[in-house]
């Protein structure tokens, strides 16, 4: 508020710069590693920025032939061996994340509307959904494996979509609820006076007003689905491969990991999340607090 | 202990807007000065500069003759009551009152004593243990006032302290505040847009508009001798009537015709011939039931009832004018006879909007 002393300003600016460096450093390292040729992955001292940048790691991720060539070239290094393309994991993740997001947002919007405008189930009803998010997924994963085995849902798109939809519903219901609450019910009332049914009034009056909010919710949930790991790890066994599973797959033997390849896969797989994240930056707080804190 | 304040040639600009330009003002010791103006006139900016939240672009702020520009807010010995009272909502009333003392490092016992005394003085005893968030507006107002008074500020700044209160609380508070100020001999700068507050409490009023001081003077002066159309219109309730007039001059003598009254001699002054304005307080019209020599009959359009007096709205040429009459005066009548005393009207220059100064006044023939 009052004018700061110069040394204080310098200190503050340095702190800001330091925090930015720390925020960026792991990502820098990921990207930097993804561009390193094989023999620099585990060099000592580590190479910060390679002199010989290569796209080889990215080729290994996406082109099985490149992976096999690479493996053949690295004679004796049996641990550094990959095969198969990551395309499938992007495809699978895209299908699962998109559909699960769609269901979550549609179901969530309907439920949120019902909860806000009709007080369905009373004051405490929405909390029931919230408890879903408090469940450690690992606690339900064991019975889900059992249940899925009976229902033949293991290792299927539908199984993961079901799990993702359920576990993101708390977010969609609570976020969209907070958006609907921002729109006065009187607006719908005005439409209803003109003879419109209530649900239609919601669709034609309120929904367009909260379109941005619903879209943000969708992106937010897409991010969650795209990044999910535990369910994918346990509920799939090879037919379905999500990107997180693919990343974890580039692990070799007891010895170590395919740093460069893993970094390449990591850089690519996290890109959509970063992009969507910044698009909805304004709503991140609302999302991650279930709509409790608004901007 | 109470202080003088001098503002000289203050300027503050936000982007393209000159919020305060060339403001100079002096507040004497123990004086109650109101800074009166419509919202956006720059009075809050001025206040923020005095308090030290804003640094003026130019000019000086001096308390007791010492420049405050390099003094941080908390060292200026200023007490500030905000429009929203800014009660620390998470603290109890007691802690709110003790906050300033605590910050100054006053001992616990002393703090306790002063809080009790202040609570006693402002009749807040029953609120002391309540949480800040649980108070109603008038309680907040009182606590806010007590919270600054307890630190014995050299200068008390009040920023629209009554705008959130309802009418009766306001009326009560005006008296109490004035009394308190007198008994403490406290210098007060009172910022408001409400002329009633300013008129009823102030020793002097500074009327402000668009970053400029329009006029500084006692309430009487401001009311009787506004310097321009803005001040004339801003002060007075019911509001002053402004009607067009046509000016004839011979030498420096001015003769005015209005839509209904002719040949009003306004004495000497500098004014061009042509259309100008007449500002006439509603009290200045003399309303009668019977016609008299220089009265005109005006049709009654509607009546506002203020209880102790009524305001008749009469058709005056193309305008409506308000005329104050006793209750029941216009009962069942369509026409009222109105005469006008030229001594009580203000002639306003159409181009400069300034009130024309008249050297001598002669009653119209």
């Amino acid at each position: 508020m009052s004018s700061d002393k110069p040394w204080l300003v310098v200190l503050k600016r340095s702190a800001v710069i330091l925090s930015m460096v720390i925020a960026f450093f792991p990502i820098f390292w990921l990207v930097s590693t993804s561009l390193k040729p094989f023999d620099e992955w585990a060099n000592w001292p580590p190479i910060w920025i390679t002199d010989r940048p290569t796209l080889q790691n990215y080729r290994i991720v996406f082109f099985p032939e490149a992976a096999r060539e690479f493996a053949a070239a690295q004679e004796g290094s049996l641990d550094y061996k990959v095969s198969g393309s990551a395309w499938k994991s992007f495809q699978d993740s895209a299908i699962i994340s998109t559909l699960a997001t769609f269901f979550s947002v549609v179901f969530g919007t309907l439920a949120a509307y019902s909860v806000v405008r009709f007080r369905t189930g009373g004051e405490n009803y929405p909390f029931q959904f919230l408890t879903v998010r408090m469940f450690p997924p690992i606690a339900v994963v064991v019975p889900m494996v059992a249940m899925f085995s009976v229902l033949k849902l293991s290792d299927t798109y539908f199984g993961l979509i079901l799990a993702y939809t359920a576990f993101t519903l708390p977010f969609s219901i609570w976020m969209i609820r907070s958006f609907i609450e921002d729109v006065p019910a009187e607006l719908e009332g005005a439409a209803m006076i003109h003879g419109m049914g209530q649900f239609k009034a919601f669709l034609t009056v309120t929904l367009p007003l909260i379109r941005g909010g619903v879209l943000s919710t969708a992106l937010f949930i897409f991010i969650l689905n795209w990044s999910e790991f535990l369910f994918a790890l346990v509920l799939t066994s090879g037919d379905v491969v999500t990107i997180t599973i693919q990343v974890a797959n580039y692990v070799s033997a007891s010895s170590g990991k395919l740093y460069g390849v893993q970094a390449a896969m990591g850089s690519v797989s996290t890109l959509p999340v970063i992009l969507f994240g910044y698009i909805i930056q304004r709503h991140l707080v609302r999302g991650l607090t279930f709509g409790a804190i608004k901007r | 202990m109470s202080a003088r304040l001098e503002l000289s040639d203050l300027h503050k600009r936000f982007d393209s807007v000159e919020a305060v330009s060339g403001l100079s003002l002096a507040l004497g010791q123990g004086e109650f000065l109101s800074l009166l103006g419509p919202s956006g006139c720059g009075k809050s900016t001025t206040l923020a500069m005095i308090a030290g939240f804003l640094q003026p672009d130019q000019g000086d702020i001096a308390i007791n003759g010492e420049s405050q520009l390099r003094v941080p807010p908390h060292k200026r010995r200023i007490g500030l009551v905000f429009q929203d009272y800014a009660i620390f909502s998470r603290l109890s009333v007691r802690s709110n009152l003790a906050f300033g003392l605590e910050a100054q490092g006053v001992g616990r016992a002393e703090r306790q004593r002063k809080v009790e005394a202040m609570a006693e003085q402002l009749r807040l005893g029953h609120l002391l243990e309540r949480g800040g968030h649980s108070l109603n507006m008038s309680e907040m107002q009182a606590v806010a006032l007590a919270r600054v008074l307890i630190t014995e500020p050299a200068l008390l700044l009040l920023d629209e302290p009554m705008s959130n209160l309802d009418a009766t609380d306001r009326a009560d508070l005006r008296g109490e505040l004035k009394q308190l100020q007198k008994s403490l001999d406290q210098s007060v700068l009172y910022v408001t847009h409400d002329q009633v507050e300013a008129m009823s409490m102030s020793d002097r009023i500074a009327v402000m508009r668009d970053g400029h001081i329009q006029q500084v003077g006692s309430p009487e002066e401001i009311y009787r001798r506004p310097v321009n159309r803005f001040v004339a219109e801003f002060i007075g309730d019911p509001p002053i009537n402004i009607v067009p007039c046509w000016v004839k001059t011979s030498g420096s003598e001015i003769c005015v015709n209005t839509a209904c009254h002719n040949d009003l001699y306004m004495g000497h002054g500098d004014l061009s011939e042509g259309t100008h304005w007449l500002a006439i307080r509603p009290h200045v019209f003399k309303a009668t039931h019977e016609a008299s020599e220089n009265s005109v009959a005006l049709p009654v359009r509607f009546i506002e009832n203020f209880g102790s007096e009524h305001v008749l709205h009469l058709q005056y040429g193309e305008d409506l004018v308000g005329v104050v009459v006793p209750p029941g005066f216009a009962e069942g009548r369509d026409l009222i006879h109105v005469s006008l005393d030229a001594a009580g009207v203000h002639l306003i220059d159409r181009t400069s909007e300034a009130v024309v100064r008249r050297r001598a006044v002669e009653v119209a023939a």
């Binding site: 001292p45 309907l110 469940f135 339900v140 064991v142 249940m147 939809t165 996290t270 | 300033g100």
Partner: protein, 309 residues
């Protein structure tokens, strides 16, 4: 129906909703409700059953035919050092991570509270970590804390001799990179929450405190922090719940090892269920965790409720 719901408060007080309207609003919540039931309630019932059996896939029977052992799983859990250890370790991780996240977040938020050039851009830059896929973030930290990674390199440069410490293989230190990864990734969220809270603080209360002569520290602790309490409560609640579930970084960085040195509750249960395949036993552990978590959450959910109310 329509008229009643015009005004939400009126609706709330409205005498028993008309029968015709009721199915409609219930129908609206039905898809969400059914999904949740399918994926949460059914498994919970199955957990109840499994927790009293000693079902192990290696015994070759399907889960619904497993032999009940009644309370013995719980009895064993009570004496299972690894389970208790994982529980305590998880609580430690939650306390350390959430506390540090909050402390750093508050510090950062205060830095970003004042207006300065490029501030918005800097905020976007600082929150980058929370935009990263957690598995990728964990991988990045795996590389950073590799014995041949840049962290060791920096330490080497500082101390002036080669430092090749294998953080993740040392039982005493392996938890550190995991916690740092978690803190790195989620401090930005905490920061955003706190910053939002700070920016929405009533400015005049702070100004009032300034004019009353309070020092910056006093203003912060006596005025700002109390005002921030609800926001901070929500932030702590949300982050504690999420941190309690911590899995991805542990899995990627250590798998709970070396030994059980970094086994958090999720990792313990994963290892138990999917490495040792002691499904019944882990179901019992899961049930205990569920009960604990839900009761804690119900107790703590008041701030959320208040904010929404």
């Amino acid at each position: 129906m329509a008229q009643e719901s015009l005004d939400a408060t009126a609706m709330k007080q409205a005498a028993p909703p008309r029968r015709r309207g009721l199915p409609f609003n219930v129908a609206l919540v039905l898809p969400a409700q059914l999904t949740v039931l399918a994926v949460v309630l059914c498994p919970t019932l199955i957990v109840l059953w499994l927790s009293i059996t000693d079902w192990q896939p290696t015994s070759g029977v399907t889960w619904y035919q497993a032999e009940p052992v009644w309370h013995w799983n719980f009895y064993d859990l009570y004496f299972d050092d690894r389970f208790i250890g994982a529980l305590l370790r998880t609580i430690l991780v939650v306390c350390v991570c959430v506390a540090l996240e909050l402390a750093i977040a508050i510090g950062l938020a205060l830095l970003f509270l004042e207006e300065w050039p490029w501030r918005k851009l800097a905020v976007s830059a600082v929150i980058l970590p929370m935009m990263i896929v957690p598995v990728d973030a964990a991988n990045a930290f795996f590389m950073l804390f590799n014995e041949r990674g840049p962290i060791n390199h920096i330490i080497s440069l500082v101390i002036g001799e080669a430092f090749e410490f294998s953080w993740l293989a040392d039982p005493d230190w392996a938890l550190l990179p995991i916690m740092l990864a978690e803190i790195w990734q989620w401090t930005p969220l905490m920061f955003l929450l706190v910053l939002t809270g700070l920016m929405n603080l009533p400015e005049n209360q702070i100004r009032a405190a300034i004019v009353l002569g309070a020092s910056p520290a006093r203003i912060f602790f006596r005025v700002m922090l109390p005002l921030m309490a609800p926001v901070i409560a929500i932030a702590l609640l949300v982050r504690s719940i999420e941190t309690f579930k911590i899995f991805d970084p542990v899995y990627i960085l250590t798998r709970g090892g070396p030994g059980a040195a970094t086994e958090t509750i999720s990792m313990f249960m994963y290892n138990g269920a999917f490495v040792y395949f002691r499904m019944g036993y882990i179901a019992a552990a899961g049930l205990l965790v569920l009960i604990v978590v839900i009761s804690i959450c119900l107790a703590l959910s008041k701030p959320l409720k208040r904010h929404h109310g």
